[in-house]
Symmetry: C3
Subunit: 349 residues, 3 copies
């Protein structure tokens, strides 16, 4: 897609320093950009590259504009503006409406005529696919699934019985939504399966990364509210509820029945226990273990940065002897107290 | 499915307080139940909800029965009894026997006439599918796979060559069983692949969660004994053996050749090293790192609960200076010993 | 495959103690081997088993040869030699060239006549499959994918638009390569998607484990160099670059834009932050959190081995009070300093 800098400036409210008639057709990094590419200055780390860029234009903030050797699109939020420009220049190509002849569609499913169902997809009874939705190759939609308008299941997405997906949600390959939760009752050393009869309800404008899994509720539903963003290889247990616009990085696991607030940012490889409650606007840094509820917005951590292994082993050994350290300190404190007493006594003599 | 309370009481050995002719047709939570729904009192946390429930009946223990405003099904193990009642009221609908015309079946595979093979499944040479088994859409069964009676592969399950699955085992979407283990020999800075020629043998009554992976043995087999329950996104390395009725929560990884005993409970995001041995009846709490064998039943941990990030950074800094703390303490101890000696000497004067 | 010990010795440069005409046809463990099986002595842990083995021959090092009761193939690198012998005895059966009639191939894709495309695979426009490549059942190759000679996609592998895979690379089921990276810009409490327009380039002789995910670059490409080995359930973020012959164990996650050197060995369940740089020849042990760059070769750790839970809870409580320990020690140090001063004063009297 080719567009003029002037049109981009008007469309995204940027101040343009440069020729409004200049044409651009792609995005690139500051270092690699050339010809008709638009780059952006992410942060001060890359300001050295700005001086040498051969981009057609750079999206940046007001302070950095002076140092820009090419056309500048000045924005209050360069990253968001760049994201929107990239979406214009590199639109996701929507396949033509229609159902591929190799797709297997239950006669009782309803596919909107403007939707696309790709090769070898399977759509079950009473499933409904909305306007302009894209069901990629090898997707499986179970009974009673409902997929709203412009939902995009990239490929090989499995939606279990009764799953609902809100408008414009994007789901990447390998995702499983609506598998049984991990629910068993102990009985005489054996496990009795607790049937999982709830559903999964996903809001609008959600994105779900590759090979992530989201379990159906045990009785009530598992819920992702609007605008939630999940990275790859995340596990969401049954009856979890994730508040609107919360983003969660890869390899994180959330145990059953935990409720996470809105606008939270959860790092990668975080482990969140079950039956907890995390309030709005919480940030959890990567690899943290969340074992109790969080009731105040803020940043929380429990990861320990690496050390050279030999030093680390010593540290761990010392850590494991912490109780002896407390004991020894207490003994010294008592001895000193006695000495201080004696010394006072001596001086009192 | 509709059934009377009297029949449920007889079938599951409950004492019934209420009308045996009353009909129920579904399960629900205490808070949401109404009409013909059966609820249960999981534990004392929910006893407040008991007083307000509008369920048709509640499954609970003897102590709680007095506070129940509706019919009560009194059980010694309310959770297990509720699980069994739920299975009666919400049976998993078994699809009709037969092979879908789009499934690709090797002429040398044997499919029991009572089994169901769904759309677009692939069954390889010499594979055998047992009575009343369900092979869901998009499953791939390699050569020589054997699937016993009433096994249920929900959808998109991949079984590599020679995998065997015991009766009534339930496998969720995205599971890969029988992929190559991670085995390489170092040779002059390059890796030489160690061919993986073992199989995977899964027992009866096992359940395996979505997108979990289980590698085939390097030479001998990887084994899951009867009744093992695995959650989602678990990694089981080659030649691991997991004892009967052990349950493992999501995002846990087990390295090659480790043997885990019976009736263990392993939490989520646990990391278990290779070539270890864990005895029967061990509980490992979430996020623990298991780096050596466990020879006594008990509960084991190594996860550190989160802190507010600023406090956490201070704690980590202090932790990293632990050796200086030991040194300082030793210096103080020496000084005190000397002072005590002097003091004694002084008093002896 | 049947072969004589003499031929194996010549082919792999071993010294043979035993009958060169003896035939072998499989590999086995020392304990299970019998008849025509070749075993190997991995390390001293198994030397007791060597004395009792009924293998046809054992691959081992010079020191161990004396204790071998059967034919010995003496090698300087027994593990690598055994791996190569296993590959001869248990060759991966390459399916016959040709495209299965149920595969869905875009008319503009190019499939080499010597390649195999299996049942229900989908190959998109302008994709190219090289000589003797194997595209297993249920694989999906997007537009513009390029797969070089002898690549083997076992089953159900998804390659997004523009992914390239080098010669002889082996990819296990459930792998997703080329899904969108996790890139969003904040704008007024909402997330704006940053379109992901880069590709993934995978080198030659790479192996990728089941259900692993590799994101496409945001703008430039995500790159795995030649000989990289990835285990199962690994997450590789956008724009990561992994150096040649680096091996990474299961459940590890690498955040976006991190660069990892050559010949590194990264353990399981490691968490590596974004925008970091790890130099060549680094070893990171399992469960380590890598939160800053590593500039010297060596071994690095931050995992804490498990404890019995009661002791562990005490340790954590003491750890959380570390600042009080420092305060108390400082107080004691001051008191002792004063006492020492007084004592000196007293002796000076």
């Amino acid at each position: 897609m080719t567009i003029s800098l002037g049109e981009l400036a008007v469309r995204f409210g940027c101040e343009l320093h440069g020729d409004p008639a200049a044409l651009v057709d792609s995005v690139a990094t500051l270092g690699q950009a050339h010809g008709r590419a638009v780059a952006f200055l992410a942060d001060s780390r890359h300001s050295r590259q700005l001086g040498e860029t051969r981009a057609a234009a750079v999206v940046l903030d007001r302070e950095s504009a002076a140092g820009c050797p090419v056309a500048a699109l000045v924005s209050e939020n360069p990253r968001a503006t760049f994201a929107r420009i990239a979406a214009v220049l590199h639109p996701r190509e929507r396949p033509a409406p229609g159902v591929h002849p190799t797709a297997v569609i239950d006669p009782e499913a309803r596919i909107d005529p403007s939707a696309h169902v790709s090769a070898l997809a399977v759509v079950g009874a009473h499933a409904a696919v909305g306007p302009r939705a894209v069901i990629g190759p090898h997707c499986v939609l179970g009974r009673d699934v409902r997929v709203e308008e412009e939902v995009w299941l990239v490929a090989r997405v499995t939606l279990g019985q009764g799953v609902t997906i809100g408008a414009r949600t994007l789901v990447h390959p390998g995702v499983v939504i609506g598998s049984d939760g991990f629910g068993f009752a102990q009985d005489g050393g054996r496990w009795v399966k607790v049937p999982q009869v709830g559903r999964v309800r996903i809001g609008a404008d959600v994105e779900i990364g590759a090979n992530t899994t989201i379990d159906r509720g045990a009785i009530e539903d598992t819920v992702l509210e609007d605008g939630v963003k999940l990275d790859n290889l995340i596990q969401i247990g049954h009856n979890v509820r994730i508040g609107a616009h919360t983003a969660i990085a890869g390899c994180t696991g959330i145990s059953g029945s935990t409720v996470i607030g809105r606008r939270c940012m959860i790092g990668g490889a975080v482990s969140i226990g079950g039956w907890l409650s995390i309030c709005d606007d919480v940030v959890v840094t990567g690899t943290t273990m969340v074992s109790h509820s969080i009731t105040s917005p803020g940043v929380y951590s429990s990861g320990i940065p690496l050390e050279e292994a030999h030093s680390w082993r010593k540290l761990v050994a010392r850590f494991k002897r912490l109780s002896s350290l407390y004991d020894r300190l207490a003994a010294v404190e008592r001895a000193v107290a006695k000495l201080v007493g004696n010394a006072r006594g001596a001086h009192d003599d």
